[in-house]
């Protein structure tokens, strides 16, 4: 759906925001562009959407070059910016209709109504923007972007600085859009968000795409898991028969920590074997929980990996 080829951007102050970026976004997917603040996420989106001129390279949107054939390219795209003060005195209905008109589409009240209803903004259609809550304003921005029925939707930090409830709500909205066939590219510096939402994740750091991977494959490849077992009686030392499992004592003998990943589980030590061995030596397990390494851990290890020579 979108092809970015050899894209570089150096700003007039000499800051190189993008370094030779190649990226392909597939039709119908949710793609998360993940990176710390200042990594170049917004610049990349801005170049694709025509807000920033590229220094080198090109962008194709459904085969249309976004500079030479900007009308065709841009009319396929909807952009939801991070946040901004809109014209505070216009109504929700007017500002969303304005966006549609700006994209050269004839008036279509039925479509606007459908967009507003899907974002639960219908009741507020006659409210002025300054009367809306922060979450409502964000949804108005999404409604504006959807007003001309784009095939690709860019969401720049859709949940930055919003509360947990609203974040869940945003995620639902985005999933709903994907189900309608809209290709979605979102930027985030919240790892959980990428993990929760995306089909694929691209990690960007200092203007370079360091990795693009299917979310599950990424978790599988780099994700290690930890099983923590709470025991009834504190242990002073590990029983010898458990040595083969690579356990560690924690919490002053009240807990055993068992680290494993997908690869190792297939080898000698298994969870069922561990549990059987524990039973055999008479260690009674009171409780247990597992933890999967988050993308944050993955991200940190990735960055460190690259730093070390």
């Amino acid at each position: 759906m979108i092809r970015v080829e050899g894209l570089s951007k150096t700003f007039s102050d000499g800051f190189q925001a993008l370094v030779d970026v190649d990226l392909t976004i597939q039709r119908g997917e949710i793609f998360a562009l993940l990176g710390p603040n200042g990594a170049g996420k917004t610049t990349l989106i801005s170049v694709i959407c025509g807000l920033v001129n590229a220094s080198r390279g090109r962008v194709l949107v459904d085969g249309h070059d976004n500079v030479r054939d900007y009308r065709a390219a841009r009319s396929l795209i909807g952009l939801v910016p991070q946040e901004l003060t809109n014209e505070a005195f216009t109504t929700v209905w007017d500002t969303v209709s304005f966006s549609r008109g700006l994209f050269g589409k004839p008036k279509d009240p039925a479509h606007i109504e459908q967009v507003l209803r899907s974002l639960t903004l219908w009741e507020k259609r006659n409210s002025r923007l300054l009367e809306l809550s922060g979450g409502m304003k964000r949804r108005v921005l999404i409604a504006k972007a959807l007003s001309h029925a784009p095939q690709v939707l860019f969401l720049d930090e859709p949940t930055a600085g919003v509360d947990v409830e609203l974040r869940r709500e945003m995620w639902e909205v985005v999933r709903g859009l994907r189900d309608q066939g809209v290709t979605i590219i979102l930027t985030t510096h919240y790892i959980e968000e990428a993990e929760e939402m995306a089909d694929r994740i691209g990690v960007i750091r200092r203007g370079e795409i360091v990795l693009v991977e299917n979310t599950h494959a990424l978790m599988h490849k780099l994700g290690s898991k930890e099983l923590t077992l709470q025991v009834d009686e504190p242990l002073e030392a590990l029983p010898e028969s458990l040595a083969g499992h690579g356990l560690a004592l924690a919490d002053e003998g009240h807990a055993l920590v068992y680290s494993y990943d997908a690869a190792r589980q297939e080898g000698g030590s298994t969870i069922s074997g561990l549990l059987a061995d524990l039973e055999a030596v008479g260690v009674r397990v009171k409780d247990l929980h597992t933890r999967q390494s988050s993308l944050e851990d993955i991200f940190v290890s990735l960055v460190q990996e690259r730093r070390s020579p």
Binding site: C49, V52, N53, Y70, R71, L79, L84, G101
Partner: protein, 256 residues
């Protein structure tokens, strides 16, 4: 794909007009009051001592100049604010990401600004009628001067709105350039009244040509030939268009 995207232009134009209409009361009241004040001060107080200029009563003589004064200041301030505000608030993203050409963006913004200042120009014209009788010898040429001036100075305002990086700069040009040039441009006097040296200096003031040509369309009298006036306006218009063209081509302060 080369054709003009009329729907987009219309949307932008109407939205800009709607923005002006929200403050329509201030927009109308302020020029009506200031025009009345000019007539009271210049027309009634001073005008009684300057009975006639070139055979025209002083009150009637200043009408074209007052309209120009209003047209220039309003065009510049409408257009500069119209583009500065979305840049300032960030909502310009929507214009830049829309499938609109530069020409369409300019037509939308500048067209709306020029329309508003034309409406105000007509309001001043009507208000002036309450104070003095005047005639319009060449109504068609008057309309041409009016429209060309409104468009040219709206383009200038557009340029200022893109150049300005703060509200101070936005006020700077109208305050330090437009207003002095207008006052010194023969709005309230014929440049014949000046000593020869200052007459020559005044000819470097572009507003002189605007006021002179415009006054000619009313009374058939002018400081410089109306054709020269027309030529100068067209020259300013071309310069403004070239600058706007350069702004969009280079992305200056719009597109980093």
């Amino acid at each position: 794909m080369k054709r003009l995207n009329l729907q987009s232009v219309k949307t932008l134009y109407l939205a800009e007009m709607a923005r002006s209409m929200r403050t329509i009361l201030q927009s109308i009241v302020s020029p009506v009051i200031s025009t009345s004040l000019y007539f009271v001060v210049f027309g009634a107080a001073i005008g009684t001592r300057i009975s006639e200029v070139d055979g025209i009563s002083y009150g009637a003589f200043i009408v074209p100049g007052l309209i120009m004064l209003m047209l220039l200041t309003q065009s510049v301030s409408n257009a500069s604010f119209g583009i500065f505000f979305p840049r300032f608030s960030g909502s310009i993203y929507e214009i830049l990401s829309a499938p609109m050409s530069y020409v369409e963006v300019v037509v939308g913004y500048v067209g709306a600004a020029a329309t508003k200042s034309l409406i105000l120009g007509v309001i001043v014209l009507v208000t002036a009628r309450l104070f003095v009788p005047y005639s319009i010898d060449h109504p068609l040429m008057m309309a041409v001067f009016l429209v060309l001036t409104a468009v040219t100075f709206s383009l200038l305002g557009f340029i200022i709105g893109i150049w300005a990086d703060g509200f101070e700069k936005l006020q700077l040009v109208p305050l330090l350039v437009i207003t002095p040039l207008t006052f010194l441009g023969g709005t309230f006097y014929s440049i014949d009244m000046l000593p020869p040296f200052w007459q020559a200096v005044t000819l470097a003031n572009p507003v002189v040509y605007l006021v002179s040509g415009f006054r000619w369309s009313f009374y058939g009298i002018s400081d410089v030939s109306p054709l020269v006036s027309l030529g100068m306006i067209l020259l300013f218009l071309s310069v403004a268009l070239a600058m706007v063209g350069w702004i969009f081509k280079s992305g200056y302060r719009l597109k980093p």
